[in-house]
Symmetry: C3
Subunit: 138 residues, 3 copies
């Protein structure tokens, strides 16, 4: 059995983190699937999906970490060619990854109490994001 | 077809790496699934699942790398608010990711000879970990 | 429904990036699956699969970033024991990850216009790589 749904979110800035957990729970419930998994995917190469405790400190710590490890730079090959100013956004999103798969157990995503599913905007300007949820199982 | 099983492991310290490969092979065999994939997921936001050669050197090199890139710091937003001392654990686990999906070919996980499925404890204290294996296919 | 196919590619050097997008689209079409997802997996622990804009600048920026964050070093535990010279390859591949899952919507992988599926060779010598594509859905 397969169940798919899309969600659109508007992000306003680089490093904005949004909590997708309630959407994941709702979509899994709608699917009626009791055992299986749900795949959450961001369309586009400058935002990421992952898991962390969604909490005011970490909401800033994760994008700050990515900015420290992968700061913007005019020396990136893509910047020298195109001057988009968001080459670091691409690299941050690639490293964190565009998707996450969470198992479903007894009709619910099997997440820890302090483990949320998050979307992280890595681009340098506001974006309209489409997230696809694909639920599979029985 | 869907087959799901849980495994509990006890970890004793930050940076402890455990080899899950034998469990993955066994659970795939039990499922009877010949073609498909197996998803391995750690419940909780301070441990990771991934793939590497499970070997004494790399067992230390991977957690040492994560500690170099993401060292503990009292300056993290979460630490300033809560003083848990494990904010770097969250960030390390988020970067490596909580899960891995491996294809199943002819009834076996299609891994390389020196490619093991590993669990990495990123938290700063001993933990009881639940790992969910979800096998899908036919 | 499950559909699986393998692809072999020859890589010639550390940091070589190959675009797998056309293969992903073709294999999804061959599967006939309209709604579901496709999982792309590199067998072996020294290469990675991910998503980025496949473009001449980023083709060099991503491996350069990984070499900056995780440079070769004789101090790695694995190097001191074995002197393979590719311990950084293992760590780079582990951090980026060996696989990617992309949702299928209306019979096509739901990728952004500038979002390609890529294979990144992290090893220090030419390799023959087997990539397994597993399509699931209905």
């Amino acid at each position: 059995m397969v169940f798919q749904e899309e969600l659109t979110i508007s992000t306003s800035r680089h490093g904005e983190m949004n909590d997708l957990t309630e959407s994941v729970i709702r979509i899994v419930e709608q699917s009626g699937i009791q055992t299986g998994h749900v795949h959450i995917f961001n369309i586009g190469s400058t935002a990421a999906v992952g898991t962390i405790e969604f909490e005011p400190g970490l909401r800033e710590d994760l994008p700050a970490l990515l900015d420290r490890l992968i700061p913007p730079s005019p020396q990136f090959g893509q910047e020298m060619a195109w001057h988009y100013g968001n080459c670091h956004s691409q690299l941050q999103a690639t490293l964190l990854g565009p998707s996450l798969t969470v198992p479903i157990r007894k009709g619910r995503p099997a997440l820890g109490t302090w483990q949320q599913v998050i979307h992280l905007e890595c681009d340098t300007r506001p974006r309209e994001r489409t997230i696809i949820f694909t639920v599979m199982g029985q």
